[in-house]
């Protein structure tokens, strides 16, 4: 056990300051444990969000020594014993109080995305047919726990305050997960190009670096989506093909004989 130094932001969006706390840290503790101890012993009204405490819900996002992280998965032994640890709220969102920010903008983005619409032809009496190899790549995106660390670190949102022009990495992969769904029949590319601002991302991969689920946001999600936008709206061959024959029909996974109706 060792006594360690912490500086935590206390205040709201208008005013606040870093307050010093000293805490006894035991083996195995994570940063969230430290915050809980401060709450119980010194600052009962210190505001923080958390739920699962196992990296599965994405509630306890904050900036620890300037790095966006989940506090429940950040072990104290990542830091030197004499190092003062500074904890501040996510920078890209308005502070409600202390470490709690207003993340409602993210929920608004999600509502703009058209929901999944599965091809009725793929449905059998036993459910829809799709194969593991068809879903592997979208299951990666569906690991997202909506911690919004990627949204927080994306420089378009963080530094340029362009929340109105870019939907952000989290929702780029949400769109990718729907567009790459083997049975989905909806088309989201027009809005991806225009309203969602897929062209804004210049692939600095900051989002991928902070993802606690290790989702390859940029390479597996954003880049393929940007490519689809380019193909659709800028490639003269595809543009001509669409004019002549209409939008290409999605090839659905084959239904095994024994599952076919009749």
């Amino acid at each position: 056990m060792a006594r360690r130094k912490f500086r935590i932001y206390r205040g709201d969006n208008e005013q606040g300051q870093l307050t010093d706390y000293n805490v006894d840290v035991q083996e195995g503790m994570v940063v969230l444990d430290v915050i809980h101890r401060i709450q119980a012993e010194e600052a009962e009204d210190l505001a923080v969000r958390w739920n699962c405490k196992a990296g599965k819900c994405g509630s306890c996002s904050m900036e620890i020594n300037g790095k966006p992280k989940l506090s429940c998965m950040t072990r104290m032994n990542e830091y030197k014993e004499d190092e003062t640890i500074t904890i501040t709220p996510l920078k890209s969102f308005p502070i409600l109080k202390d470490l709690v920010t207003d993340v409602s903008w993210n929920y608004e983005q999600n509502e703009r995305i058209k929901p999944v619409k599965l091809a009725p032809e793929a449905k059998t009496d036993r459910g829809y047919v799709m194969y593991q190899k068809d879903v592997d790549r979208i299951q990666e995106f569906r690991k997202c726990i909506e911690c919004y660390l990627c949204q927080n670190v994306c420089h378009i949102i963080r530094d340029h305050e362009k929340k109105d022009t870019f939907i952000g990495p989290r929702f780029m992969i949400r769109v990718a997960g729907l567009e790459m769904h083997p049975l989905d029949t909806e088309d989201r590319l027009p809005e991806l190009k225009k309203e969602f601002g897929s062209g804004m991302c210049n692939i600095t991969r900051c989002c991928t670096d902070v993802c606690p689920e290790h989702i390859n946001i940029t390479d597996n999600g954003i880049i393929p989506m940007k490519e689809r936008v380019v193909d659709r709206f800028y490639d003269p061959v595809t543009i001509m093909a669409r004019k002549l024959w209409g939008p290409p029909k999605k090839k659905l996974p084959p239904i095994p004989e024994e599952l076919k109706k009749g």
């Binding site: 699962c52 819900c57 509630s59 109080k97 036993r126 459910g127």
Partner: protein
């Protein structure tokens, strides 16, 4: 007190709680054209459902075609030691497959079989591979699917809003609820023609728990305060495998899928001890040699299931016994080893979040080393007493579903039956609460005095000059429950537990939260403590009353199931004197056909199901 400035929001149906059950209920209610709102303590998508790992049980028969609702029903009743409400277990087994397939239609992307259908895995107490799953993050898939579907269904979502207490009209029907916004500390009256509680359990009453801060028995206590019956509160499931080290994560869940995928339990002497703990009821269906267990893992359909996949009550007690006998692991648990059973690649593919969780939190590689695990408080089988078909509580207008409702799981829940419970009974609650609301022409008037009393109770905590610290009071309750109302109970410990709760109740009268009302966790903790104390009292008193050992309720002084107690549920309610009253409520006689199915031998039932199928096909 002038409350004219307090905002009122009206809905036909209001749902409290936004986990799998609440969201399912909201989607169903809204689809019936009634104005639907849902309030939740956290942000949308963060409820405890997100932590569920293993899967949802449904007799889809995608992996083993022999599966059938009758066999799922039989497994559920046997797992629940026949104390389940028969009709609920029947509805659950019959409706689960369609609800799971509907989830797929709404966008859930389950792991697939070779045929391209939803894949299913083995789990404790289930005869066949039955759990539809996505790796070991099935709960996340479920909540995200319901969330992403739900936001397009016209449901009004109220986040970070805490229910304080119910309101009733002159006829005694529930007609609203007073809530507090966590951000501002302001109050709002929600008027509703019907209210659905989907508030989860109360696992935060124990020190070692897999539950998050939200699990403070709010639904139990609000229903109780309003006069509803609670039932079966003595049945608290201790999940056999929680983390035991490091201390700061003690209790965090280690999914049963580790055992479903072949993981074995060992004591400090290297003995696979579960072979010594097979109850008579399960002897004919459980492997009795390591050789047979290995054949089962390799896919031999004639081999019986390994004893690690016995029901949770049995495995939790076995680990507890091994530790007490001095054969525990280094930090006082058992060793759970998957490394010797599966390839590293398989483990990372099937159990990715377990791999990650141990790597980060315990600096341990589960593909190389065994985990250390021990029992952790996980789930409430008991809760608000409801009608099986309508899910309405004993209070008109109040419905309940999911963990906060009693009856479905009896004395012990099977793993995987919770997520399917959320889908099935969430749906039934949504349907019935909407129909109930449609039968009412208008909202009834809110009694201002009730509102004033609720708000005064809440603000008094902030206005006190001095008083007890809510965090320390909570710790005291946790220690008391852990010590006295744990896995193994006796009259002595339970009486000590009740005495402890009485003392805590006294201190609670003067609980005080420092600071202002804006996003004040100390105040939130103090408000939740009222609910947790009521929950703890109901658990301890019911546990004292039930003088037998059944499922998750173990009385060292009354070993074994007693025929007498099989006839009763213990029901608790608030008396006119303000005290908690407990009574034995005689159980309804089961439908003879259901009783026959549940009590058939597995061989007979398998034959029956196979014959039915042949008849249908010819």
């Amino acid at each position: 007190m002038d409350i004219s400035g307090i905002k009122t929001i009206e809905h036909d149906v209001l749902i409290v709680g936004a986990g799998g059950a609440g969201l399912s209920a909201a989607i169903e209610a809204s689809s019936r054209g009634v104005s639907t709102g849902i309030v939740m303590k956290s942000l949308l998508g963060k409820a405890h459902t997100v932590m569920a790992e293993g899967g949802m049980a449904a007799a889809l028969g995608n992996v083993d075609a022999r599966d059938h609702w009758k066999i799922h029903f039989r497994d559920t009743m046997r797992g629940g030691k026949f104390l389940n409400v028969w009709r609920m277990a029947e509805l659950h087994a019959k409706l689960a497959p369609d609800r799971v397939r509907l989830l797929e239609e709404w966008g859930a992307v389950f792991d697939r079989t070779r045929q391209g259908l939803i894949n299913q895995r083995n789990f404790g107490g289930h005869r066949y591979p039955r759990l539809a799953h996505v790796g070991d993050r099935t709960g996340l898939e479920m909540i995200r699917t319901l969330q992403d579907h739900g936001i397009h269904q016209g449901i009004q979502v109220y986040m970070e809003c805490t229910g304080l207490d119910l309101l009733k009209n002159e006829q005694g029907e529930v007609n609203g609820i007073v809530c507090m916004w966590r951000e501002t500390g302001n109050f709002t009256i929600f008027k509703a023609k019907s209210i659905i509680f989907a508030t989860g359990g109360g696992g935060k009453a124990w020190d070692v728990t897999s539950n998050s801060w939200e699990y403070t028995g709010d639904g139990f206590a609000m229903a109780y305060e309003a006069g509803a019956d609670l039932m079966d509160l003595e049945f608290n499931q201790f999940h056999p495998t929680g983390m035991v080290w490091p201390l700061s994560v003690k209790g965090t869940l280690v999914t049963e899928s580790v055992r479903g995928e072949g993981g074995i339990l060992l004591n400090s002497e290297g003995t696979r001890f579960m072979f010594n703990y097979i109850p008579d009821r399960f002897k004919s269906e459980t492997a009795d040699t390591e050789e047979e267990a290995a054949r089962w893992l390799a896919g031999d359909q004639n081999a019986r299931r390994p004893p690690e996949l016995l029901t949770r009550d049995v495995v939790a007690r076995a680990i507890n016994d091994e530790v007490k006998a001095g054969r525990g692991s280094k930090h006082g648990g058992a060793y759970l080893n998957i490394a010797t059973q599966r390839s590293a690649e398989d483990i990372k593919r099937k159990l990715p979040s377990m791999y990650h969780q141990f790597k980060v939190l315990a600096e341990l590689d589960i593909t190389k080393e065994p985990m250390e695990v021990g029992p952790t408080c996980h789930y409430f089988m008991g809760g608000i007493r409801v009608d099986a078909d309508t899910t309405m509580s004993s209070l008109s207008g109040l419905f309940a579903c999911g963990e906060c409702a009693a009856g479905m799981h009896g004395a012990n829940r099977l793993g995987g039956n919770s997520l399917s419970d959320l889908l099935v009974f969430g749906y039934l609650s949504g349907k019935n609460a909407a129909e109930y609301a449609q039968s009412k022409d208008s909202h009834s008037n809110i009694d201002q005095d009730q509102v004033v009393a609720i708000i005064k109770n809440a603000t008094a905590i902030l206005n006190r000059e001095s008083g007890s610290n809510p965090y320390l009071l909570h710790e005291e309750l946790e220690q008391n429950m852990q010590k006295n109302v744990g896995i193994i109970r006796t009259r002595e410990t339970l009486e000590a537990g009740i005495a402890g709760i009485e003392t805590i109740k006294e201190s609670y009268q003067s609980v005080r939260a420092k600071g202002a009302s804006q996003f004040n966790p100390g105040w939130h903790e103090a408000l939740a403590m009222r609910n947790l104390i009521i929950t703890a009292e109901a658990v301890a008193r019911a546990a004292l009353m039930r003088e037998e050992s059944r499922g998750a309720h173990t009385r060292a002084d009354f070993p074994g199931e007693q025929g007498y107690w099989h006839q009763y549920n213990i029901v608790s309610s608030k008396g006119d004197d303000g005290q908690m009253h407990l009574r034995k409520a005689e159980r309804k006689k089961p439908d003879p056909e259901l009783e026959r199915i549940a009590k058939s031998t597995i061989e007979d039932l398998e034959k029956e199901v196979a014959q039915e199928r042949t008849t249908v096909n010819t």
